[in-house]
């Protein structure tokens, strides 16, 4: 029986000729990731181990992104713990204030993740690197500790769902709409344990930033990972960003899929997930009532990349954010920030009345930099709209693309760019 793309990568990293769904394996890791929240716990676990060194100081990435620059004393203590660990073990890829970005935007940009890799991260959105054709998945703190110490992790080989992408999306439809559409269709546990493998000619119409957004939210459908074929766009991205050799794997022609779906991009509309689950989706034309907002957030590991900022700027250019709406723009990494500055995007945001923040997770997980009060409503390009995710338990988060978030910031209610004549 043939193997899926994910299964092939896992087999090679486990030193096996073939693997089948459900099989338990131990695989070599190319990268182990942690952030300022999860790394301190893993470091504490590692202290209990007799192994006192990391398996490879170049293959551990520690990214301070959730609560930095330190929002309070507790977060300062966490970062201090990680900083000391990074110094002691001479960790090459330690990213602190000034070099950091949101982990899942930063690592591909730094060239630390390439096609064919097996990557674990103590953060559920580690699945993002599937956009480049890597196997990557989120784990707990003990896994991260063990991964840092041994360079290995155990996995249950996943079965897969195939998404055949065809067609070309219309102007204001992006990767976010594709993944929200899929989650709305299969539900928040629709891909539990499984790989979401994206294939098809329509992928050529999706940029790398679109693909990062899609792979990022595989976890929101319960998926173990999301993965894309390695095409010219992916190769060009890796050649621009990475010095590491990449390896291209393809699914066998007779690989087995538990389910198959065809998504025609030309039929998709801007899609919004209503509170309090990412599966509660509606297309923009299905929204009949006015949904008045208090805040718009454009950023996060899902949608804080340069394409996202360009799209938001195209809409905000020469416009004003509605009175009484706070519009918060957060470039995901320092280099995206710099590029946005050079392209004049930051000027557009500031002139429109938005604020631009240093890279941080900030409001995405209700950390800081835009917490919601009771009864407030936010349109956000982030990935989770659970109860209380961005602040008060009685606040609401609507998930959408940067285009919708920017247009809504101008009108003060959930809106499509078409309402602005765009």
């Amino acid at each position: 029986m043939g193997m899926t793309m994910t299964q092939k990568i896992l087999a090679v990293h486990a030193g096996l000729d073939t693997v089948t769904a459900g099989q338990l394996i131990e695989a070599d890791l190319d990268l182990v990731l942690g952030n300022d929240i999860t790394s301190p716990v893993a470091i504490h676990e590692m202290d209990k181990m007799t192994v006192k060194t990391v398996f490879d100081k170049d293959k551990v990435a520690l990214v301070m992104d959730h609560f930095i620059p330190n929002k309070d004393i507790k977060s300062a203590e966490h970062c201090k713990c990680v900083r000391e660990f990074a110094c002691k073990h001479d960790i090459t890829n330690y990213f602190d204030v000034g070099q950091m970005g949101i982990e899942h935007a930063l690592l591909p940009e730094q060239g630390l993740t390439v096609a064919g890799d097996v990557i674990i991260g103590a953060d559920s959105h580690t699945c993002t690197y599937g956009a480049l054709g890597a196997f990557s998945t989120g784990v707990g703190s003990t896994d991260m500790a063990a991964g840092m110490a041994t360079g290995k992790a155990w996995f249950k080989v996943p079965s897969a769902i195939k998404f055949n992408i065809i067609g070309k999306p219309s102007k204001w439809v992006s990767g976010k709409d594709v993944i929200l559409h899929i989650i709305g269709m299969i539900g928040v546990d629709g891909a539990l344990y499984k790989s979401m493998e994206f294939v098809g000619e329509g992928l050529s119409n999706l940029s790398m930033d679109d693909r990062f957004t899609i792979a990022n939210m595989a976890i929101e459908a319960g998926g173990k990972n999301g993965i894309f074929p390695v095409d010219d766009k992916a190769i060009a991205y890796m050649e621009e960003h990475s010095k590491r050799p990449y390896k291209v794997y393809e699914a066998d022609a007779d690989a087995e899929y538990e389910e198959e779906y065809t998504i025609d991009l030309s039929t998709l509309e801007p899609t919004i997930a209503f509170p309090h689950l990412p599966e509660n989706t509606k297309t923009i034309s299905e929204i009949k009532e006015d949904i008045v907002i208090d805040q718009a957030v454009i950023g996060s590991c899902t949608n804080g990349r340069i394409d996202d900022l360009r799209c938001a700027a195209e809409i905000l250019k020469g416009q004003k954010v509605k009175k009484n709406v706070r519009c918060i723009v957060i470039p995901a990494t320092q280099s995206i920030y710099l590029q946005a500055m050079e392209e004049g995007l930051l000027k557009i945001f500031i002139e429109a009345g938005a604020v631009v923040s240093t890279p941080t997770c900030g409001p995405c997980l209700g950390g800081y930099m835009g917490i919601l009060a009771e009864g407030e409503r936010c349109i956000s390009t982030t990935n989770r709209n659970f109860v209380g995710r961005m602040g008060h338990v009685d606040s609401e988060v609507y998930l959408a693309s940067p285009a919708i978030a920017a247009a809504s910031a101008i009108t003060g209610k959930i809106s499509a760019p078409a309402e602005l004549g765009l």
């Binding site: 181990m49 559920s124 989120g138 707990g140 003990t142 155990w154 249950k156 539990l192």
Partner: protein, 161 residues
Amino acid sequence: MNAKGTVFKYGDNVDTDVIIPARYLNSSDPAELATHCMEDIDKEFINKVNKGDIMVANKNFGCGSSREHAPIAIKAAGISCVIAETFARIFYRNSINIGLPIIECPEAAKAIESGDEVEIDFDSGVIKDITKGTSYQGQAFPPFMQKIIKAEGLVNYINNK
């Protein structure tokens, strides 16, 4: 390796909040966590459970927050194995990593009832319901995973290597 004991049976989507409520997470002492295990859906559990007993549940056991405290509480309560139709992914990992054996077996999970005497052979994956006289084939743990469980968790397993 074997496990044998009396079954405590639960339904679908038992989440980590009911396994160990967030209000007790200010402790990381396994014995203390165990005293609150399952209390929001089964107050009697902790009084009735004996060392070696077995937990059986239906779909998506351990969903929700990724807290490692959940499998720690179950294990410290004396449970020797959890059988379910399916487990939430991160709970599954965390259980193995702290040395709590768990087995997916939809047939067994559906048929076994509270109070049944059940015996599990981890080498073969065979689950025997002694009370009902039935047996089921669950997935056997591969050798390295058996070693993790024997070592009482991933940290010890790595230390022993």
